[in-house]
Symmetry: C3
Subunit: 447 residues, 3 copies
């Protein structure tokens, strides 16, 4: 009578999970499907199964293809460690390292890829099902997906391990999905961590997704989902979080660290929330709203933009200059209330030379409400270090040896009307046509 719906990849008779866990999991899924034979409408549940991956190193040569609901794949360890630090350490020192690779319940993505393969072919886990209902309640929990290496991509980057390019994706959901959960996972050295099309009621919660080209991409359209309580940090050319044509997305309680071309990028997203996150970046364009993002809420976030402190990435950025804005808005009726912005830069690095950096920029759109944001801008003499960790800590804690920096706290472009800017900067710091937008300056001492 014991359950047949609990599988351990190390105990399954088909394939060898250490050599190709993809073959093993696909065989298990086939077994689950072969047993889903009950066709009685009033009894016939297809409850799915759980597949357990104990801690260990499991190569994946065959893509896992998931087309059944209620499948849970779980391990016992997110296993993140920084591969970037290792790959920027001299090989002479490797013998002295305690360990060289991420760990936990770890999938080593070894899918053989051809040049010009379609993106989905590089996915370790590929979810797709047509017809009705949408595939539901697939869960990924507590294991590690490691893309292993980045590769030369013609960009001129001298260390191929720093390109954030390898054609690999951790989890790719191609068709409309409902009530999926991704929790407690680790993702590292993938060009795309999580890519999901057409999500409804999705949970991405309490994961560690870093050193990936892009971390989370919600594409197509979707609704009523949450990205909460994650540690996230993409590479310099990708998104930490990207969402497209989404309604009702809640992004909260995340600690999003560098680099990331953008910490959060919204493309046609409406009625969604970015609240209560800690956002840290080395470039402008930290949060970007493009293509008429409207009626969104940006509140209680801490934005920090400072400088790249680590030698291997010096001189690399996302290509945006300091006039772009840390928060860039194209759209109507958004709310930006009660955020803190810290901008810490070396004036010698400001682009274009001599420019006054912009913090919040409304590029187009009406009816945005920008209120009670506190901008702190300081000039520092950047410290650089060969040690990634100590450099970052050092930079984060440096608040003393600095001088105030002049910035534009809010810039409203000419195309924008009927916006309201309150208590988010003094008269000189808020640049806009004050006859077509509403304004109240933050009071100044003694005034």
């Amino acid at each position: 009578m014991a359950s047949k719906n609990y599988y351990d990849v190390t105990e399954w008779p088909v394939g060898n999970p250490f050599e190709d866990i993809g073959e093993v999991i696909n065989s298990i899924i086939a077994d689950i499907k072969s047993r889903q034979t009950d066709t009685d409408v009033n009894k016939g549940g297809k409850p799915g199964a759980v597949i357990y991956i104990p801690p260990g190193d499991y190569h994946l040569g065959s893509q896992v293809v998931i087309d059944i609901s209620y499948l849970k794949i779980m391990g016992s360890g997110h296993g993140f460690t920084s591969s970037s630090i290792r790959f920027n350490t001299s090989e002479n020192e490797w013998a002295d390292l305690h360990e060289l690779w991420p760990g936990g319940s770890r999938i080593l993505v070894d899918i053989p890829l051809e040049v010009n393969d379609e993106e989905y072919k590089g996915a370790a886990f590929y979810v797709e099902r047509s017809g009705n209902p949408r595939i539901s309640s697939v869960e990924f929990s507590d294991f590690c997906i490691d893309g292993l290496h980045f590769i030369e991509d013609g960009s001129g980057e001298t260390n191929p391990e720093n390109t954030y390019t390898n054609g690999k994706t951790g989890i790719y959901v191609a068709s409309a999905c409902d009530s999926f959960r991704i929790t407690g996972m680790g993702f590292v050295y993938l060009e795309h961590g999580i890519t999901i099309y057409h999500a409804d009621a999705l949970t991405i919660h309490d994961n560690f997704i870093a050193e990936c080209g892009n971390c989370i991409e919600l594409r197509g359209w979707g609704q009523a989902s949450k990205i909460t309580d994650n540690l996230i940090g993409a590479g310099f050319k990708g998104y930490s979080i990207y969402a497209q044509n989404f309604g009702g997305l809640l992004i909260t309680a995340n600690n999003i660290f560098p680099r990331g071309a953008s910490s959060i990028y919204f493309d046609g997203v409406t009625r969604s929330s970015i609240t209560n996150n800690r956002l840290h970046s080395f470039y402008p364009g930290m949060v970007v709203f493009r293509e008429n993002c409207s009626e969104n809420m940006v509140s209680s976030n801490h934005f920090l933009r400072d400088h790249e402190p680590w030698t291997p990435f010096l001189g690399i950025d996302n290509g945006l200059d300091d006039l772009y804005g840390l928060l860039y808005i194209s759209g109507n009726n958004n709310s930006v209330i009660a955020n803190h912005f810290s901008e810490v830069i070396n004036t010698q690095n400001i682009k274009p030379v001599g420019a006054t950096p912009v913090i919040i920029r409304i590029v187009s759109g009406n009816g945005n409400y920008i209120s009670n944001n506190h901008v702190v801008a300081t000039e520092v003499h950047a410290k650089i270090s060969d040690s990634c960790f100590s450099a970052q800590v050092d930079a984060l804690l440096t608040t003393e040896a600095s001088e105030p920096l002049t910035v534009i706290t809010v810039l409203v472009e000419k195309e924008s009307l009927q916006n309201t800017i309150l208590d988010s900067g003094g008269d000189a710091q808020v640049v806009m046509d004050k006859t077509v937008n509403a304004f109240r300056a933050t009071p100044t001492p003694g005034a």
Copy 2:
């Protein structure tokens, strides 16, 4: 020496879990209690046990009765899928559906109920213990409780599966409890998802609770608890979250979707927080404070009220008209700061006809502080669809083909004095006696 405190329901010799998991779990609980014989004060722990439910369909005919602390019941899959969509699909199409029912580690609640049975008799899991200490640290994790069907209730609803009535409850805690945890669960098609009396230090975190008559009800009184990071959506006549005489409740990071007569209903609740949630409803009365709710905090939430887009529920609502307010407050000294409100309705549907809808309404009470709330109100021509999902996505993303709608952003009734309304609407949008309440209008462009 192997542990005797780990039980798998599919391996227990008493009963058949697929036919009546209630009998099996009650037998396991009896076994745990029979082994708790240590009476030495300095040694005598009663550590409890874990009961594991692998993925599968488990009928429950006998109510589980829990009266021991430190019992954890866990599965491997929350298993939610929409039963509502299926039950509003023609039976002719069912043969083409991939699956008909929710799944995961799924309890099918088959408790035989008589008319006029007391509510608790319909509970799948019933927790009750008198004496001291209060029962502690019972945990429910990662399984699904499915009420299966709703029934005719005399309301005239033509499809009995749309009544949200069946007398069934998922988890019912009747006596004072401490440090309970409900995490990673799925609840579907229950008249009451979770009902808990007299909770202290309760955690309801990261669950999926939807298509239930009511989702979470904290009754009697309670303190110092949290409802966080859940996906929640009740039926049209119940509460997504209800709390009574509670102090120190933290409701945050939830994505609460329609329908729900109220998203959150507070009855005599004090010194509690509703912060940082995404709230979506089809009716007024989204958040209601009744019976002198005082010193509560409502901050950084995104409220969206739009229209019912799905054919089966057209014409059904919660009975409240547009003068009721999306946020209804009876009580003193509450804070409503930095929220975004989107109201999107077809003026033809406004009730009473020709009324000016109200967003925030202070019905009675002094000393409330309403500050920096941004209200966006638009008129649309409602789209209706036979497809629940695409209709909702469509509605969510529609921000363009709309016109501004005149609303009262804040209405303070005559019984209310000494309230403070700041930057939450223009002079004409904030309706109150401005000689007995404090007011500062949101500045207007060019003013």
Copy 3:
């Protein structure tokens, strides 16, 4: 082929986990290390392992020493119950109690300690590794660490179980660590719950940490971490959360209850967030920023300070008087926006006698932005009870039989310049030099 990386402490051949689980886990760790022999750079992963602790009472006499990455230690039950209530109940009543001790997967910390032992010697779990890389991805999940008893400490406290002193620590991390996770745990009756030096990308999420001298201490320095969604409450002389020289810490969605000398104490912390928490204390100094804490964000929190209602702790406090401030700030450029403060005290208990209590106090520092905070202060006649739970609930719900209390909502000391105080109190409630700081009074009715 079955996994060798899953260990159950009750099945391991060395030692007896019920007598000394420390010996058993150390033996397992030695086994894991003995099997990490792969030295091939391109293959040689050291994936770690999971050690499972089923529910049960496990004495720990030997400290567990962890020096490998990717080790997960997990149980099936956080097992918290109040030992404080039991130890303040007459022994005559103990025979009538359902259970006397915490439970779940419970570690009973029995480490033999000498007077003047170094602090780390009292740790149940001690993590330390020198060299590179930093130890990564150690995880603690779903078990209970119980310090069992407090002891006489010469403070004059008559009941030694109320001293919060015993030299014991739950988890002590001595060296720099990366991507650690502590989730779903219970900590009780330890002098220090969690002590971590030099944390990077740490997650402390969804734990129950109460009745400990101190709950969470992040020492030395650290960055980019999160303390989220926990239930926390330290003893009267310690910290619920303490952080030192930290950058980018996100403290959110926690419900922090009494007592705690401070709910949150920052020592030289910068660019961090305290947002969206529910904070409850019986003393001033709820949140303290010392040693130039700068550019931090305090937003959307609910602060409640009321009085000690429980007989055993009457007359005990943290030694601070009512001029200290509920929120005490020394530092520059911090943001305090959109918080609710409830102060509920008996004027007879105000210290010094006749003083006007202070809510937010800026002791030193420039450029702080204090905006849209709502302060509600009331005088009550304190109720005292022998029952901890009912006393607290009673106090929490009492908002009616009270009178307004005069307080200073914001006090800016003379050393502080260029601060901005907006809508956080009337002219008489905000005390500062208004020629060197900016001010806008909350409007008053009829004004």
